[in-house]
Symmetry: C2
């Protein structure tokens, strides 16, 4: 099967041959013999909102503008794309500055906060929980045949993961089509990059779903919900609080998806079971992720 | 083989039957049938250094005091255990307050910082890199037979991972003995908890090694180096910058360790290859981590 079959529909897909994203390093094998392997790059990127330094994240370094934008929106620090004036990436300084037309509410709040207790890191979390207060994600019919097709297609798409391991993939999909496939050292970065792309292109979320290789933690579920995407699918497992948040906002949450198997822990009513799992069978050994991104 | 064989030597080991750490949740399987699975808890814990709110981390919730202490030391925010007066955990408020006898340098620096640019998150990273400037980890002979024994022993130790998946394990070891086995939703929390335990008990690092199930990213390698531990072993893969830091501080870095296989990318001179890999063989399928903590 030609590889091209699996990435012809992507608007953005991994670029495993990009020499800036991986590096060959030499070591010694278990037998004491020289061995050379490819490893992914990991670089610090500092995100500014206007003149305020927000955070330094570790990233593989592709799409820094999308990462910064998506992060700020997913943290509730930016609320409307229309206020974004410019996004400037400086490769030498490893910084991205997101500039808005006027000072954001977040900056005002931060100034107040830092006058009293010194730092705003701890408040971010509370802000995200406030943002989902009352949120109910829209209805969307999801055929299980789409999910099986997506899982297979994503597993077979050439990726940095297949090239060098130790990396997570997150894919924005519509029905059985893969649209944007982002990878990064942290699964939160990959979903932030998708969010940055969506906000830049004014892409509507309500008919989309996200497939991720990473675990379904509260962070991933909060981000997906804040993006307005009603379905999140993973080959990995769950945390209790992640499940709780998904049920609260009525997100369809599917995990442990391998071959024909999966378990749906929230939002089951969106699923249309239009295919018999036995038509899919168990996951072939060669398609198993070998845990390099554990 | 009795399970007890594998945890008799631990000073601290996982407590998979603790009802506060996992929860049963009900869902529907791929066949549309009711299915109940166990998932790990994930709760927010806010860490204060005296009156300064530092960060909110997501954790399974065991050993909050060790987590807070270990985090502050690993970030360079605390420098000497002798200045720690008290550590107070409040379960209702989900907070840990670490109190020192006098205001720390970090707090002074933070006050300066927040007057100018608002927040200190981005500075933390630069501080950690400064802390390893000139650091050279001590020599320690490491027999490959120890590594094989440790890997097997840790894989067979009853754990939250085996109970519910979606969690990382990090183990402090000495020679072929497992000492402290911490698990958490983030691998950085697990290593922070080990650091908190070591600092509290005044445990010396130079004859220890760390085994982790997680990836060898820059964060894990910085933490291990700052703890003064000269050897870090993982069943997962590497990032380029992690390898670079390990080589800079002369940390022995071993990854992709499964069955007889591994690759050593830094500090090879500490290894004494006292066993033929073929005596170990390939990893049995039943001992493979199934990626639930991807």
């Amino acid at each position: 099967m030609a590889e091209s079959k699996w990435n012809r529909n992507y608007l953005i897909c991994p670029d495993p041959k990009n020499p800036e994203l991986t590096r060959s390093v030499k070591g010694l094998s278990h037998e004491g013999l020289p061995e050379e392997i490819k490893v992914v790059e990991e670089i610090p990127l500092t995100i500014f909102l206007n003149s305020t330094e927000i955070v330094t994240v570790m990233t593989i370094g592709d799409y820094p503008e999308y990462l910064a934008l998506g992060f700020l929106f997913n943290q509730g620090m930016l609320r409307s794309y229309h206020s974004v004036e410019r996004v400037d990436y400086d490769q030498d300084l490893q910084t991205v500055v997101v500039r808005t037309t006027k000072t954001t509410n977040f900056e005002v709040k931060l100034q107040k906060k830092t006058r009293t207790s010194g730092c705003a890191v701890g408040t971010v979390f509370g802000d995200q929980m406030e943002l989902i207060e009352g949120l109910q994600l829209p209805f969307l019919k999801v055929k299980t045949s789409w999910l099986y097709h997506l899982a297979k297609s994503i597993n077979l798409t050439p990726s940095l993961y297949l090239e060098a391991g130790a990396i997570h993939g997150t894919v924005l999909c519509k029905e059985d089509q893969t649209l944007v496939y982002m990878e990064d050292v942290g699964r939160h970065n990959a979903v932030d990059k998708i969010n940055g792309w969506m906000k830049s292109k004014d892409i509507q979320p309500e008919d989309k779903l996200i497939y991720t290789t990473g675990r379904l933690t509260s962070e991933m579920i909060l981000k997906t919900a804040l993006m307005g995407i009603p379905v999140l699918v993973s080959r990995s497992g769950f945390t209790a609080w992640g499940v709780e948040i998904a049920r609260k906002v009525n997100l369809t949450l599917i995990g442990r998806m391998r071959g024909k198997r999966f378990i749906c822990l929230a939002g089951e009513e969106r699923l249309e079971r239009n295919i018999l799992p036995d038509e899919i069978g168990d996951e072939a050994r060669k398609h198993r992720r070998k845990g390099a991104a554990d």
